[in-house]
Symmetry: C2
Subunit: 136 residues, 2 copies
C-alpha cells in the first residue's frame, strides 16, 4: 500500500502525517473498515487525528478511485482499498464478515436489452450472501 501514497503524491496530493496514517490503516487484503474504525486505528498511531480529517481523506481517496465505498448492510459505509482489481463481495448473513471474491464470465450479459429501459449500463455490482464456515 506504500505505492498508494506514491500514486497520490504523483497526482499532486500533499502528503501529511494524517493521510499517511489513513493509508497505512487501509493496507491489506479483505479490509473493509468503517470510517469510525479507520479513525480508531489511525488514532492509535496518531492520537490527535480528527474524525473530520478521516472522513475527508477517505472521501478524497474514493474520488481518486484509489479506494472503494461498500455498503452491504445499510449501516455505516465501509472502505475497500482493493480498488485496482475488479471484484465482488461475499457477505456472511450471520456475522457480517465481508470477503473480496473474483467472478468468472460477464455479469452484464444477464440483463437483456428489453430490461434496460434505454439505460447505458456499464457496471454490475454483486453482493453474494450466505453463511461463513464459522456461522454455518
Amino acid at each position: 500500500m506504500s505505492d498508494l501514497l506514491e500514486r497520490l503524491r504523483g497526482r499532486g496530493w500533499r502528503v501529511t502525517s494524517q493521510r499517511r496514517v489513513v493509508a497505512q490503516v487501509l493496507d491489506g487484503d479483505h479490509v473493509h473498515l468503517t470510517a469510525d474504525e479507520v479513525h480508531a486505528r489511525a488514532a492509535r498511531l496518531l492520537p490527535e487525528i480528527s474524525r473530520a480529517t478521516v472522513y475527508n481523506t477517505l472521501g478524497e481517496m474514493v474520488s481518486l478511485g484509489e479506494v472503494l465505498e461498500v455498503s452491504t448492510d445499510g449501516r455505516a459505509k465501509r472502505y475497500d482499498p482493493n480498488a485496482h482489481r475488479p471484484h465482488q463481495h461475499l457477505v456472511c448473513s450471520g456475522c457480517g464478515t465481508i470477503r473480496d471474491v473474483g467472478t468468472t464470465g460477464d455479469l452484464l450479459a444477464h440483463l437483456p436489452a428489453e430490461e434496460r429501459f434505454g439505460f447505458t449500463v456499464d457496471t454490475a455490482e454483486v453482493t453474494y450472501r450466505g453463511l461463513c464456515p464459522a456461522c454455518a
Copy 2:
C-alpha cells in the same frame, strides 16, 4: 396492493388506518421510497401519522417478507413493495432513479467454488449502474 392488506390480515395483523395508508403509498411498480418519503406521502392522506409508526410498519412488512429493503447509495434505505417477483435493480448514476429489472440465467454460477471460502452461498444481489435516457 389491496391484497397486501388481505395477506397481512390473514397473518393476524391488526389493520389500522395508519397501516392501510402505508400500504397504499407503497402501491405500484418501480416504487422505491425512503422511509421519510413514505411518511410525507402517508401524511397527505392521514396528517397525524407519526414517523415512528411509519418506521415500525415498514419494519414489520419487511420481516413478513412483503416488502424489500434496498440500499443502493449508502444514504437512507428504500422500500420496494415488489417482493414476490425476484428481481435486481438498475440505478442511474446521474439522478439516482431505480428500476426493477428481471435477469436471465444463474448469477450464482459466476462464483467458482475456490472463491467461496467455505461459505454456503445462497443469494446474489445485483445492482446494475449506468445512465438513464434523460441523464445520458
